[in-house]
Symmetry: C2
Subunit: 378 residues, 2 copies
């Protein structure tokens, strides 16, 4: 298990992350399958066709339904959803703090109500690690608190200190779980998460502290939650230099194609975001010249594919006019084709970024791609 940086251009890195479920070519975009399925009727058998390297599933959602013990008993998430490549599971923390009702934070962890049936659930670092061990994902994320971007400094300081203590407990518990005989993936990896809201100095101190724990990867969390893009880029620039340069850096929940290009430029290796699937379900489709809204009347008789030259399953077979008709008629197939296109677009964008890095022309690529992405404005 290691991360090979095979090329650098400024802060941007071209790497290969080795895992028990195969290599991940970085920079990479992970495709979000919240409850062990990507929204939009996308099956794991489709993912090979749209270039998915890593599938991301949600610990909180799977714990609530169908239950992580059930998934463990059925052989783990890979077997359950029939996917052989890497899976990253989040810690559940983000959902606990955003979705669940009546939460109560203590040093031990968080008590909250399930959004499905209202039952009381307790989750702390040990519980999160246990659930993720049951799911047997390739990469588990540390259990953290993600303070709001508008939180007061004193709250953020206390929260980040607790997140550090929680990370120590996560690491200890994962080491223990990985040594147990009935653990499915005994080589499960733990990524730590940097927090600190919009306070650069708290971010930097926290990055230094967690870097000492020698984890296989680190994430920057708590961004893209309301702050401006400029603030986000400033925080990434401030924080990345204090994370280990020989470990991948994962920018959680980000973002637009432009955000991703700017993230790579600032040293980010892993990304994930619900934009491509969520926008696809609403008929907002990505092209290299910007997003198009397929509900727009001008596409009613448009026989072209969503994007000319695109090799996704939607563009290879269907016209804008047909997919628009399906979306207007609320046919599930319209959402499916749109989501397949958008995920392919993101995965293919990462391939273009990797090719540019391989060829030592990322800076030129970045300028041109950002300019092109601003052409359309629908």
């Amino acid at each position: 298990m290691s991360f090979d940086v095979i090329k650098k251009e400024g802060a941007a890195k071209r790497g290969v992350f080795h895992t028990v479920h195969g290599d991940i070519q970085t920079p990479v975009f992970m495709n979000v399958g919240t409850v062990a399925a990507i929204k939009g009727a996308v099956a794991t058998t489709d993912l090979y066709d749209i270039g998915t390297q890593v599938e991301l599933s949600n610990t909180y959602h799977l714990h609530v339904r169908p239950g992580d013990k059930l998934i463990h008993d059925l052989g783990g998430l890979h077997k359950f959803m029939n996917w052989t490549r890497p899976i990253l599971t989040d810690s559940g923390g983000f959902q606990v703090f955003s979705l669940a009702g009546l939460r109560k934070i203590k040093e031990e962890g968080v008590t909250f109500h399930s959004h499905v049936d209202g039952r009381i659930i307790f989750m702390g670092p040990e519980e999160s690690m246990q659930i993720q061990s049951n799911l047997a994902s390739t990469i588990a994320m540390a259990f953290d608190e993600c303070p709001s971007s508008t939180s007061e400094r004193s709250y953020v300081e206390a929260s980040v200190a607790r997140t550090t203590r929680w990370l120590e407990r996560c690491k200890k518990e994962m080491d223990r779980l990985n040594s147990l005989p009935d653990t499915i993936n005994k080589q499960q990896m733990l990524f730590g998460i940097n927090q600190g809201a919009v306070y650069d100095d708290i971010r930097i101190e926290h990055a230094k502290t967690i870097s000492e724990m020698d984890l296989p990867g680190y994430a920057i969390g708590g961004l893209a939650v309301g702050e401006t893009h400029e603030e986000m880029y400033r925080i990434i620039e401030a924080t990345v230099p204090y994370l280990p340069s020989n470990k991948p850096v994962y920018l959680m929940g980000v973002g637009t194609p432009a955000n991703i290009i700017e993230g790579v430029y600032r040293g980010i290796d892993f990304f994930d975001c619900v934009y491509p699937s969520r926008n696809g379900r609403h008929g907002h489709l990505y092209t290299h010249r910007g997003k198009i809204n397929l509900f727009n009347a001008k596409y009613e008789r448009d026989e072209r594919p969503i994007e000319e030259g695109c090799r996704c399953p939607a563009c290879r077979n269907y016209s804008r006019a047909y997919i628009r008709h399906l979306l207007k008629a609320k046919e599930m197939l319209g959402m499916r084709l749109s989501v397949l296109h958008n995920l392919y677009f993101y995965n293919h964008l990462m391939e273009e970024i990797r090719d540019a890095l391989d060829g030592g022309r990322f800076e030129a690529f970045r300028k041109q791609a950002l300019e092109d992405l601003n052409t359309l404005n629908e």
Copy 2:
């Protein structure tokens, strides 16, 4: 364009129906794609994988949205939905008489309100033929009235007489349309429809009358609309002998796997039904031993495919436990996999029926299959 009966066993026929879009091996089950897409996010590219021979689309729905003129201008339904094999379009009559509001029947046709935007639409035999010509389907259905199975004899007599006059107008209009230069499919075929509710003598007289028009195929309509299975079988037995034996007979909107086997036994060649897609979306899955309800708790940890030995895309890749989880979580993928399985089941059942007819062992197949289909009772 002709129908070759290559084997017979009692009234059951094994045939090949030649069309401009390729041969149809009969008996055949047509897969219903109401608005130019099969519900459940099933794309035409999936249909090759599940053994679909004929796709069926709805004239009324496509007229209302996106409009048959638009589909004509984009090259017809085959090009619009990217499907090269045969397409059958219904006449719109069934939807006009069941879906639309405030309808008014006259000799000329029917005035009704669109269920989408309420606008007033007039449809008669000529309008139905024009729409189906615009769609450029392989087989167009005659515009008819489908009287309720509880209609009085006098109403049914008058209705059937009008349906006969409408059929003459349909035939004349299709001949005209097929001769026009901008008609996409100049070899579009017209199937007549037998009506007569549950009155055998009216059915028989009507069958004799329409048989004289020498159409390439005939349908039995107005069944499976409330009468018992026994009544339906009796009417089929009474009517089929009075339809041409060298033309395919299509039993519209029927039915369960048992209904289909019994229909073939009584001389039916074409079938269509929404059961496999509708039941699939509700987690009711077909097996050779009967339907299973995947919401049943006993499937929670069931690692087997929906049906052992099934070669459908769902069974080849996923377990009952996984698909059940998706259905419970209301993930579109759960519906998609269930619909793919059910359509494959129906298409594959027809293949088994054809193999049995080819081998001269249909009667033995029928008895065993009907017995097996009664094994489960969920």
